[in-house]
Symmetry: C2
Subunit: 411 residues, 2 copies
Amino acid sequence: MHTDPLPPLGPLSGVRVLDLSTVVVGPACSLTLADHGAEVIKIEPPEGDLMRQLGGSFRHRGMSGKFMNFNRNKRSVCLDLKTPTGRGMMNRLLETSDVFITNMRPGALDKLGLDWPSARAVNPALIHCLVLGFGRGGRYCGRPAYDTVIQSSAGICGAFEASGSQPRFVPLVMTDHITGLIAAQAIGFALYRRGRTGRGESIEVPMFENMAAFVLREHMGGMTFEPPIAPPGDPRILNPDNHPVRTQDGYIAISPNTDEQAFAFFFAIGRPELRSDPRFCSVAARTANSVAYYALRAESLRGKTSEEWLRIFEELDVPSMRYNSLESLVTDPHLTDVGFLSESEHPSEGPIRDIGIANRFSEGTRSQVEPAPRLGEHTLAVLRERGVDETTLRAAAAERALFDPSMEQPR
Amino acid sequence: MHTDPLPPLGPLSGVRVLDLSTVVVGPACSLTLADHGAEVIKIEPPEGDLMRQLGGSFRHRGMSGKFMNFNRNKRSVCLDLKTPTGRGMMNRLLETSDVFITNMRPGALDKLGLDWPSARAVNPALIHCLVLGFGRGGRYCGRPAYDTVIQSSAGICGAFEASGSQPRFVPLVMTDHITGLIAAQAIGFALYRRGRTGRGESIEVPMFENMAAFVLREHMGGMTFEPPIAPPGDPRILNPDNHPVRTQDGYIAISPNTDEQAFAFFFAIGRPELRSDPRFCSVAARTANSVAYYALRAESLRGKTSEEWLRIFEELDVPSMRYNSLESLVTDPHLTDVGFLSESEHPSEGPIRDIGIANRFSEGTRSQVEPAPRLGEHTLAVLRERGVDETTLRAAAAERALFDPSMEQPR
């Protein structure tokens, strides 16, 4: 018998994920699971995930680029969990899920009967992942945890101060995004363990502790020792003069570190005599005179374009790389070579760019991208799949416990 | 029969990881696996992982704080892979491993017979994870991939420019560190799949593509659409005036977003009339006048200390949080409450601070921290465990194919 080959499936193919999360941290986690083949059901309240409104420009309200990029490959089920009928539907989904992920505050989760002890009673094989702002048992537990709050408390702004700048935020929702990746990682580890034991478990992922560990691993430095033997901070990383270098028409990154690379760099900028300058003649000399060395680098590339310098440095084996603005990143030639940003037709939003899957798995990488869902687009389809009958669905819709755009618009 | 209870074990307990990686990206990956219970063997060349030298201050050369923080819970086996004997020992370890992780360049890996086709021939159940700078098939493939090079090319420096600053680097080895976490995540997913199929697989994790996806998900914005409907960049995140706010004695983070929070904030700073100011009287007004709103915030907290403001804002339910410098992060009271930084006695480095495990797994979280290894500290012990006999070990040591500090110092 001849059958068409199946499209390649990711490593989490067959894993069912129930995602009650909003904005970035939870959606980044479930996106990662989805991109690796899991079937993700995104539960949204009648007003939708707040990110539908926050993410910047859109063709239709509720479908911003940012929302779509964090929520493709998921299906949207819109339930009003304030109603007993909505909570009943949620429990039905919970019974048939492998993973539950949420960033709801623990008190609110308890009230919905979605805390781990309640969820486990329904489905003992469930992996229940709760993303918290701050871990239990500490004095910040329960406080609001915006990305800025975590950047400020976990030492990310402090790293800027240690590098000689004013404290500032990284212009990314970096702590939400990284913690979401870590939550997906933890879920993968728990799925592996469940494969051996058959038992589910609860995972708690606090943003603050995760990001404090991220910063401290890199910068605890001399304070790793007790008593401290030096201030914290890796001086090589905190060097205030290390930044992309201005050229005639933009910036490039350069890293001439070894003698060979540095001498080739001096040659390229027309200053070959610097190889015998006592400030720059060895790795030790350049390290001791890093302020002067970085100042030299910062002013040395104004005479040629970025393309010209990159060609020269590539020939001379001086580590160097293109600088991408947000605009130029989208048309980066390497990303084009590998087809990383592919065009597709979104059923409601028209032609869009899809971000590729970065990693390759030889036993199968998810290849199909499903479009980001409109609010409640899959409510009826998913509940029917799970065996809810038409009479029950109609009654639930009538009491506004669920919404599906094929029936009516949410309030 | 009465037995002492076993210490809690992490989800990857029993997983054997062979780690041929250096500096940050690979060691961050294998640290994550180790912290979740895997048994990690770190293979080092006779000169050791370069991070032993780069990581800042130390009590004994080769044991910097940074090295120790990325390499605790691992054992070090020192082999000279340039010798056939060293490569033979490596193959012996490969046969009995579940996971192999490396950030070696593909050409060098092929020469050592450690590429996926060769490794699979030795151990078909192996999960073989290769971290690359740039993915195969694109024009940057094979180019050197320092963290700065990736920050520059993947749009992280570009996000600073889009937020109104000069392009700069985040003062963390952010792209190494995040890609390492992603590699650990991918390995977890592949372990899960292997549990179902019994087959190993190869994973390729390119830093550039992973970080480009990280930035684009957040900031592709209006360029998600084709043709673009707006420039890239999420304006809320790129607002140049959003940073920790100066107080009398430091900084704090504040996020008065809703009307209730903003009006409470105006009250706290002694400007209650601003709630009826047309620039600030609603969310829409404050968004439209964000420059004025952020400017007001930036100058409003100079009159009191950080502690005083935090107490006031907590009482008034204005989202706010402590700013931590790298120094103060180490003594943060919440981290102290949860015992996140515990003291231990390192066998060679004396009293040190260990960074805690951030996440809690109800079926068991790794609780024991093993000290970061000295170079080759476990060479003999590990090879004996894998059945290498004493004659072979002595011969290998004599030809300098392996090193263990109990026998002699490396060259």
